[in-house]
Amino acid sequence: MKITGVEFFLFLSLTIILFYSIQKTRYQWLVLLTSSLCFFALSTGIITVLHLLFVSLIAWKSALWVENFKDDKAKARITFAAISLVVLGLIILKYIGIKRCLISFGMTDTSDFVNYFLAPIGISYYSLSLIGYILEVFWGNYKAEKNYLRIVLFAGFFPQLTSGPIVRFEETGKELGKQIDFDHKRILFGFYRIIWGLFKKMVIADRSAIFVTSVYTSPDQCSGAVVAFSIIMFALQLYADFSGCMDIIFGASECFGIALPINFNSPFFSETVSEFWDRWHITMGRWFRDFTLYPLLKSSFAQKYKKALTDKLGKKAAKKITTYTFMLVVWILIGIWHGGEAKYLVASGLLPGFYLISGQQLSGFFEKMTKVLRINTSSFLWHLFRKIRTFLCLCSSWVFIRAAGVKEGLVVLGEIFRTKNSPGSFNEQVLSQGLTVWDFVVLAFGVLSLFGIAHFRERGIDARNSIMKLNPAVQFIIVLCAIFLVIIAGIYGPGYSATEFIYKQF
């Protein structure tokens, strides 16, 4: 079930009706649990529900055992075993693939099994959420949840099953148990966000995708400028796609009075790659920082490594090299989490890690250069330069996400600089990639809307709050226009179903 499809909105509406029809009772959250399991079964098959139930059982039981045991070593062993089981499930179902596993066990006809055991949607997201829960109980951040079904809902709350966010039990798990009274403003608020998400996905992302796909299919047929333009268009597609998906997820959750943790915060306003990762896919960055980087850096192994370096290179250098070494390990893990293929390792791991480390390492040099060149570092142009520089760094790494592989990504980058025999003017080439002038007008409007809303949000002005303050008739007209815009200007794939979200594959 796609979250841009009619079936999803019928499913969501039905769940909202059921949810509020039993308001003021203790059982409201059970509606969300039942709907989530139904959504899961309808999306990837009933057998995969078992995986969610199984890993939730591991997390729930191990956390309770950890809390009851007195011996620290026993607690650590249980935590390690539980996390290993969750990770093993993730590796088998997502990375190795159940088909290859069955073949390795000597099974030749695997089709029936494969159909039942497709990698469950959202497996990467709920697996990380559950690992976070196990670790936080082990660290004593909060008490273990006694009700197993609440853990299942925390991991499998249906809006977040598509593309996250990666949630933490302390914030989202407890939100999911609250009793929520019906308030039409809440539904309206959620609805506005869903419309905004659909606009981003169907009008901007899917439109950009047509151009990007065409250029990436035969980059050798396009001039360097057109290839460079397609790389920038892919950045727009990726952002509109992922953040649009998040808006639909957040909007759907808001209808139930559940505020999920923020995942995007105007990322293209970042002036450094480090700042970008504090604004893009925030819950993933936070998860890897808190549950992998920090424990690794605090480990006795890291301290021994730092001490050995201190003896040779001095305290300052040792501190930096230790941090960078483990940051690189974490960036590789992030790359593996994104898909395990070499291209994801480069695009989501090694390149961002390289930019981040080199950015930190060279910050002193840049500071000196600005003084030597007498650059006014508080000027608008300087800030704009830093934003564009960061954006271009990211574009260069995202080439590998879009390309079929690392080699193909390098070919696309190389095509920017290769001299070619007059492939036509820039305008002619751009308009021969499947989009018309009208499409580019719509895209320009979309980009202006994205930046306009992000610009106001940076200044603490929320578009939805502003709309809610307007006269109801004006609100109605705005919403109607937005719906028509999505219907008229949206791009519809084969069979009138929107194309898949890029981040759903992770």
């Binding site: 670790l135 660290w139 004593g140 951040n141 605090k298």
Partner: protein, 79 residues
Amino acid sequence: MSREEVFERLTNVFREVFDDESIVLNDTTTSDDIEDWDSFEHINLIVAIEEEFSFKIPMGKTVTLKNVGEMVDLILTIA
């Protein structure tokens, strides 16, 4: 160990980690008040505090400390 003593030793740790002799701490000091105090430097700070006060800060506390005041309270509780 008195609160003042903890503050004094903690200030020295901060000055060494962030290589800034002008740092002055109070209860409400947060990462927003010290330029280089980002998520990466945070863990170096935690490790330096552990070395200075000879104890281990629980992993859970590493990410939940909100300001220097909470840090001092934690040191007084554990050390």
